[in-house]
């Protein structure tokens, strides 16, 4: 039976709660309602409101409360309802969640998962479509994870809950209803291992989360031009799998990084810098980025202009310097 990413995430929490009684799920509307995206559906019923509960509507309070609970040996999995509504909790994440292990020389650590539905493409009004992963990835002490497949959604969330460090778990809401025939439980690769979703010899497309399906689509479309494109899904941004990236780009010699987030000072910039530092002599062309524009995420009627789609990726592919002109359209 096909299962959606939202169901896979739900199953991951259920199985983790079953396996470990210290796992607790809380946030806004996660209890009786089961989450605005139904990701926590049924957990309160099954495990009781001790294990899955609604809190006051206060994101900083939720994150700070989780710190205290984690200090007592609980494993909080907290839900921030939408990307832009996690910002009130930013201080807790930056100043405490990320740093407490470091501040205390390892004496205190606060394993917890901060689940954030993120990204656009669902016609949300403002503050419901931000790609905020760069903010978190820039904070030492936070792991940042974003699944692109149903299988990874389950596996990465289980791993995030088991992880001894705090994990910001970015859920691409556009992909919540993506389905797969996967049977749960499923385990995929661990943190820090990228996945080559499609092998190819001409170009490497680097994507994660929301942009993985788009990159795959672009790669498929490019076969018409006779191009053989490899697609790397990073899966985890922190820790980052330099080895797979370097291996792929060294082989192909050309690379385009695709992110939905606006490009300025973002993950894309980080990736391009790293590739340039490590693969300079293998590169046949400058590494390009395809990203959202540097504007606040636009209103629903404009978002298709903002989102990097297949065409924009193929345009970038065309802009790569091709010695063999036959490969360029």
């Amino acid at each position: 039976m096909a299962i959606s990413m939202a169901q896979a995430l739900n199953a991951a929490m259920r199985d983790a709660m079953q396996a470990d009684s210290s796992v607790v799920v809380f946030g806004e509307d996660v209890g009786t309602l089961g989450g605005v995206f139904t990701v926590t559906a049924g957990l309160a019923e099954e495990f009781g409101e001790d294990r899955c509960f609604d809190t006051p509507l206060a994101e900083s309070g939720i994150a700070g409360f989780a710190v205290g609970m984690a200090m007592q040996g609980f494993r909080p999995v907290i839900e921030m309802q939408f990307d832009a509504f996690a910002y009130p909790a930013f201080e807790q994440l930056a100043s405490h969640v990320a740093k407490i292990r470091n501040r205390t020389r390892g004496a205190v650590h606060v394993p917890m998962v901060i689940r954030i539905p993120y990204g656009g493409g669902i016609g949300g009004v403002e503050h419901h479509s931000d790609s905020s992963e760069s903010h978190y990835a820039h904070i030492p002490g936070l792991k940042v994870v974003t699944p692109a497949t149903v299988e990874d959604a389950y596996s990465l969330l289980r791993e995030a809950i088991d992880d001894p460090d705090p994990v910001v778990f970015m859920e691409p809401k556009k992909l919540y209803w993506t389905k797969s025939e996967a049977s749960m439980p499923v385990r995929t690769a661990g943190f820090g291992q990228a996945s080559i979703r499609r092998t190819g010899s001409d170009i490497t497309l680097i994507a994660y989360g929301t942009t993985v399906p788009t990159a795959l689509e672009a790669a498929e479309a490019a076969t018409e031009q006779g191009l053989d494109i490899e697609v790397v899904d990073l899966r985890t941004l922190v820790p980052l799998d330099d080895a797979t990236i370097v291996g792929s780009v060294t082989r192909t010699g050309r690379c385009v990084v695709v992110t939905e987030a606006n490009g300025f000072a973002g993950i894309g910039a980080e990736l391009v810098a790293r590739i340039q530092e490590r693969c300079f002599y293998s590169l046949d062309a400058p590494v390009l980025r395809v990203t959202g524009f540097d504007v606040p995420y636009p209103p629903p009627l404009y978002e298709h202009h903002y989102l990097p789609g297949v065409d924009r990726i193929l345009d970038a592919v065309d802009r790569l310097e091709w010695e063999d002109q036959s490969k360029s359209a």
Binding site: G31, G48, E49, D50, R51, F53, D54, T55, P56, A58, S60, G61, A63, G64, F65, A66, V67, G68, M69, A70, M71, Q72, G73, F74, P88, E91, Q92, S95, H96, K99, I100, R101, N102, R103, T104, R105, G106, A107, V108, H109, P140, G141, K143, D163, P164, D165, G192, V238, P239, L240, D242, A243
Partner: protein, 386 residues
């Protein structure tokens, strides 16, 4: 299940307060007394009974231990201030004048209780028995937190204002769920009460019936900003009322009153009746830190007025008059404080040992490949320097 119960308190393991009916809103007097609770006048005399607002006298034993800790605390404040002048501490936010609060919030705790202090609360740390050199870690700069929070049940001193407050609530709530009847005592300044996290923490504590005591040390200033610019409420204690939290205000320079009100608050929280907010009216006699030009925002005459209400002389006068404290006790306490200061001096005069590669050790449980690379880079640089 009572309306004030934590989620699911009816299911799972029994709580330490199982069978104890959580107080209902009607049973609990939420409003603080009209004026700060007081036991002893600034001259060290017994205040009129009405000013006690029904609170009990603390035991002589407790008052004597508070007195001794305050004498040490006062000496520590002068020593640490001197150490900044000698460049031994990066900065020191003195709590001179606030010793009754510093000590009062700690002597009422059991070993199993947790303390959540701020940068100003180093005297509270040493009153908890934390080694003075470890207690000064943050301010000395050899690490962010010099003591082991788990072993001492004392959270790292918090620098961002009020952000430690939801931690105290989460911890106290979680401990209760685990079946431990501990209380979390959290310190915050008057300025900190304006921060969002203060309010979120109060609300969470009330909703989850968490055994937390919030101690607001109202020392009249947030760096240079006076209380009048911080709040228009009748008192900071009133801030608890709207959340359904029992609230009280106390003369923070009257150690007897502070110990009495806080003992009561801790007992209230421990027996599962919910959190308590206590505002202690006190005064920061020194500058905000050694780096702060205090003359720019307040008159010297104001400080002089407060020196007359010094918590140290006040307690000493009261205990002496009550025949609890003899001259030789006073001398013994001062000698002990001197020993304490002399004892810490050589350790703090020595240059702290630093281990540069350690900065990579506690970012994650296992370093990322990127951190490993950077560690090797620093290692190579250090080898080159050597």
């Amino acid at each position: 299940m009572s309306e004030r119960s934590a989620p699911g308190r009816g299911s799972g393991a029994p709580h330490p307060d199982a069978g104890l009916e959580a107080a209902t809103k009607n049973e609990v007097q939420h409003l603080p007394s009209d004026s700060p609770v007081r036991f002893v006048t600034p001259d060290g005399e017994l205040a009129p009974r009405a000013e006690r607002n029904g609170y009990e006298f603390p035991s002589e034993k407790l008052l004597l231990s508070a007195y001794r800790a305050m004498v040490v605390g006062r000496r520590f404040n002068t020593e640490a201030t001197a150490l900044t002048k000698m460049g031994r501490l990066a900065v020191y936010p003195s709590s001179r004048g606030q010793e009754a609060c510093q000590v009062g919030g700690v002597v009422v705790l059991d070993e199993r209780d947790w303390l959540f202090p701020t940068y100003r609360d180093t005297v509270a740390l040493i009153s908890r028995g934390i080694d003075p050199v470890e207690a000064l870690g943050l301010l000395r700069g050899d690490w962010h937190c010099g003591y082991d929070p788990m072993a001492t049940r004392t959270a790292p001193q918090c620098t961002p204002l009020a952000t430690h407050m939801p931690h105290a609530v989460g911890l106290a709530y979680a401990a209760r769920r685990r079946g431990e009847d501990l209380v979390a005592m959290v310190y915050v300044g008057d300025g900190g009460t304006s921060e969002g996290d203060f309010h979120e923490a109060l609300n969470f504590a009330a909703v989850f019936n968490a055994p937390v005591v919030f101690l607001v040390q109202n020392n009249r200033y947030a760096i240079s900003v006076p209380l009048s610019r911080q709040s228009a409420a009748p008192s900071l204690a009133h801030k608890g009322v709207g959340y359904g939290i029992r609230s009280e205000q106390v003369d923070g320079n009257d150690a007897v009153a502070v110990v009495s009100v806080l003992s009561d608050a801790v007992a209230f929280a421990r027996t599962g009746r919910g959190p308590v907010l206590v505002e202690a009216h006190t005064y920061r006699m020194d500058a905000h830190t050694n780096a702060d030009p205090v003359g720019r925002y307040r008159d010297a005459s104001e400080a002089e007025e407060w020196i007359e209400r010094d918590p140290m002389t006040r307690l000493e006068a009261y205990l002496s008059a009550a025949g609890v404290l003899t001259d030789s006790d006073i001398k013994a306490a001062n000698d002990a404080a001197e020993d304490f200061a002399t004892g810490m001096r050589p350790q703090l005069n020595a240059n702290p040992e630093v281990h540069p590669l350690e900065i990579f050790d506690y970012v994650f449980a296992e370093p990322t490949p990127q951190l490993r690379e950077q560690r090797s880079q620093l290692e190579a640089e250090l080898a080159q320097e050597a």
